[in-house]
């Protein structure tokens, strides 16, 4: 079966050029980047090149990049690190209701530790209200952490405005940019960011590598203690092949971002419009907001998103619903609930996320497979019949 992968917000395939760049660092150039000898020097040089490549993508300085194990570590490091470094007597953090669990659960732990947290609500389009943000700021606010692009909806927050507000009141601003990096331009200077989290495996680098941008001068408590790697700030022997992969992926993203974005957005729009036209009583979520070019979140009332995702997978089309938990079962989406979808509609929603390798032919196939599967599901859906019967 020729499988079609429309779940690139979950993870992406490692780009062949990325893999090729990494391969020598597993075997021939396997050195520890901290070693004195030639093996180590080669690894060090490659790691620093990767740091430059990533810094170039973000318009950051190389020394502002710390490599981590991924988005979750970066988010935790930023949030706990800023709060712990603050000497204020009372502390307050502002975030939103649609953050990734890496941010939400970290904030919940902070609350248990006595830190006040404001969870800003979002509009139907998944955007926070900047006036609400202004109002939420308190004298003891130490951190604003607002995600750049949402993983489920693709909604892009007006981060430049948020950056302006944070700068006005001189509060640190962190953003989880895991879903925006490589899809839309991200310039840490223009956005006035203090901290930014990103992950390799969403941009065609491998899993297990990520980075945290920390603006020079930011007061951040370190998270792990050990050797002197990465200036002692994030100890642990560097994941050299992963770092090389992330650097290469960042370079490819910088070079092809614009071209990819136009092409992928056109495919996404064709998929979204085609499905909405072919499937009655369906709607797209947050489609009026600025979105990442690859993401489409659709609601098909009367079906269980979980059942649709399984039937589509059985027919060779991979997409997703909600957020997967460790067993792989689907948990109700806090994001769709936050934009005001009733529970039944949240359950009836699925996400397609395209990627650099999505083809025209795959979108054609998806436009055949999905409407057929949906019609079959609705045929045996007790709720869909009831809904249609209620509106004769």
């Amino acid at each position: 079966m020729n499988r079609i992968y429309l779940d690139n917000n979950a993870t992406t395939a490692v780009e062949p050029a990325v893999l090729e760049a990494m391969l020598p660092y597993f075997s021939s150039d396997f050195g520890n980047a901290s070693s004195i000898h030639t093996f180590g020097q080669r690894a060090r040089a490659a790691v620093e090149t990767a740091r430059d490549q990533l810094a170039a993508l973000l318009n950051a300085r190389s020394q502002e990049i710390v490599f981590t194990s991924g988005g979750t570590e970066s988010d935790n490091h930023a949030i706990f690190g800023i709060v712990a470094a603050s000497t204020a007597r009372t502390k307050h953090v502002i975030t939103s209701t649609i953050e990734h669990e890496a941010v939400l659960n970290a904030c919940q732990v902070l609350e248990k530790q006595g830190v006040a947290v404001t969870y800003l609500p979002v509009s139907r389009e998944g955007l926070i209200d900047l006036n609400e943000l202004r109002k939420a700021i308190r004298p003891d606010t130490v951190l604003i952490t607002i995600m750049h692009a949402n993983n489920e909806l693709g909604t892009v927050q007006t981060l430049s405005e948020i950056g302006r507000i944070a700068a006005e009141v001189d509060v640190y601003l962190h953003t989880d940019a895991v879903q925006s990096i490589g899809k839309i331009p991200v310039d840490v200077k223009a956005l006035q960011l203090d901290l930014l989290s990103l992950s390799g495996h969403k941009i065609y680098a491998p899993k297990g590598i990520g980075a945290l941008f920390i603006k020079g001068g930011t007061r951040l408590r370190q998270f792990l203690f050990g050797g002197h790697h990465q200036r002692g700030f994030r100890p642990g022997t560097e994941n050299v092949p992963g770092i090389i992969g992330l650097g290469k992926a960042a370079e490819l993203a910088r070079l092809s971002l614009e071209r990819d974005a136009f092409r992928i957005a056109a495919l996404r729009d064709r998929l979204e419009d085609g499905l909405l036209a072919r499937i009655p009583d369906s709607h797209a979520n947050a489609s009026a907001a600025p979105r990442t070019p690859n993401t489409s979140n659709l609601t098909f009332p009367g079906i269980e998103g979980e059942a649709l995702v399984i039937s589509l997978d059985l027919k060779g089309l991979a997409c997703s619903t909600g957020a997967a938990c460790s067993s792989g079962a689907v948990e109700p989406s806090h994001v769709l609930t936050a934009i005001g979808l009733p529970a039944a509609e949240a359950r009836a929603s699925i996400r397609f996320s395209l990627g650099r390798h999505t083809t025209d032919a795959e979108i054609d196939a998806a436009l055949e497979i999905a409407p057929a599967a949906l019609a079959q599901l609705r045929e045996i859906s007790p709720t869909y019949r009831r809904e249609t019967a209620a509106h004769p």
């Binding site: 399984i310 039937s311 059985l314 067993s327 079962a329 079959q376």
Partner: protein, 386 residues
């Protein structure tokens, strides 16, 4: 040992059905073997594992047992995935936590607090496995759901009814837990292990090299660690914001004489002898539980026996609801030898059972299942006895 038993020499299922079949996979040896058997018969299989209970809930219970020993643990989900990978068929985890809590866990706790002794597995079968899971199977294109239950289904050509029969292996028979299945549910269900013994199932699992072939059977309620349901009820009630008040009350004789104190009605089961907290000359047993007056009534063995009781929520399976009383064998708990009785259908999905000989500990909240030989005529909940 029956060395001749091979996967391909199994009795073909009564009717070979075409099309995709969903297998409800717990990660245990029984349901895994079901998948192996069906694949061997050339049936296309999709595995479904239900996520029923968030093991991170009720953290105060977590020291009780490694989650490993319980079903619906993550390890069991991964075991099911390993089996599917090994046998090369698609497998998915589906989330029924909400339904499981509403239809199984909460009623289980409420019943105990109301002085009854519930059977969660029956609710889980009727209201979760053969309801949302079966619907999920149909939605993804599988017209039938196969499970690892030890029981049999037969379609009766003359009456057109789907009959539920005891398993060939009497020691493993689970028909007592399946009496709630409707004709529509039975028509879409398959129990491929109904003709096999547990030893044969293990042997088939080994022949198929299933990674779970040597996994021990799970015996307890999947959501209650260590079988300690009293602690579970306390923790669950606390989590629901309704912590149990001091639940102590009197233990009384049938005449109403107070002879001791009890620690909460949910700690007691009818017929229970041990753990009453005091010693008397003769053995005494719990006769009745009275949640209204918060009393536990005790007495001697004779008083524990009843001749007759009423059932509610009765589901007639192998026969339509009979107009006249029928003679049958009636089983009143999982480990009870079915006893001769007369069963009379009453209006409103009720029935009256009259035993030939008085039976010990007829327990409200438990199920009574009416058998004719191997065939399950009906089942229902025990309401009252006398």
């Amino acid at each position: 040992m029956n060395a001749a038993l091979q996967l391909d020499s199994l009795p073909a299922s009564a009717e070979r059905r075409p099309g995709l079949v969903a297998v409800a996979m717990s990660g245990g040896v029984d349901s895994s073997t079901v998948a192996a058997v069906l694949l061997q018969q050339g049936r296309p299989v999709v595995g479904l594992t239900m996520q029923l209970w968030n093991q991170r809930r009720l953290p105060e219970l977590q020291g009780d047992a490694p989650a490993r020993d319980r079903c619906c643990s993550l390890d069991d989900v991964y075991d099911a995935k390993r089996v599917a990978q090994h046998l090369n068929f698609p497998h998915y985890v589906v989330n029924f936590e909400e339904q499981f809590e509403q239809r199984v866990v909460r009623p289980f706790v409420e019943q105990y607090l109301a002085g009854r002794t519930p059977i969660a597995c029956t609710n889980c079968n009727s209201d979760v496995k053969f309801e949302p899971l079966l619907r999920m199977a149909r939605q993804i294109g599988a017209e039938h759901l196969a499970t690892g239950h030890y029981a049999r289904i037969r379609h009766h050509a003359l009456t057109g009814r789907y009959q539920l029969l005891r398993a060939r292996d009497d020691s493993k028979d689970q028909s007592y837990f399946l009496w709630g299945l409707t004709q529509a549910q039975l028509s879409r269900s398959e129990f491929p292990l109904g003709e096999l013994t547990k030893d044969e199932v293990r042997r088939l699992a080994r022949q198929a090299n299933l990674p779970v072939a040597e996994k021990p059977d799970s015996m307890e309620l999947c959501f209650v660690p260590n079988g300690n349901y009293v602690r579970f009820i306390h923790a669950y009630s606390r989590e629901s914001g309704k912590p149990l008040k001091n639940p102590e009350g009197d233990i009384v004789t049938e005449e109403g004489t107070v002879i001791g104190r009890h620690s909460g009605v949910h700690n007691y089961t009818i017929g229970q002898r041990k753990g009453l907290g005091f010693a008397t000359g003769k053995p005494i047993y719990v006769l009745a539980i009275d949640p209204e007056q918060n009393r536990v009534v005790v007495g001697e063995d004779d008083a524990l026996r009843s001749v007759s009781f009423e059932m509610e929520g009765v589901n007639w399976i192998s026969i339509a609801e009979p107009a006249a009383p029928v003679r049958a064998l009636v089983k009143i708990r999982h480990k009870h030898d079915p006893a001769p009785a007369t069963a009379e259908a009453l209006p409103g999905l009720r029935a009256r059972i009259t035993f030939e000989q008085p039976q010990r500990a007829v327990t409200p909240g438990q199920a009574a299942v009416i058998y004719d030989g191997d065939s399950v005529l009906a089942g229902g909940w025990i309401r009252s006895s006398r």
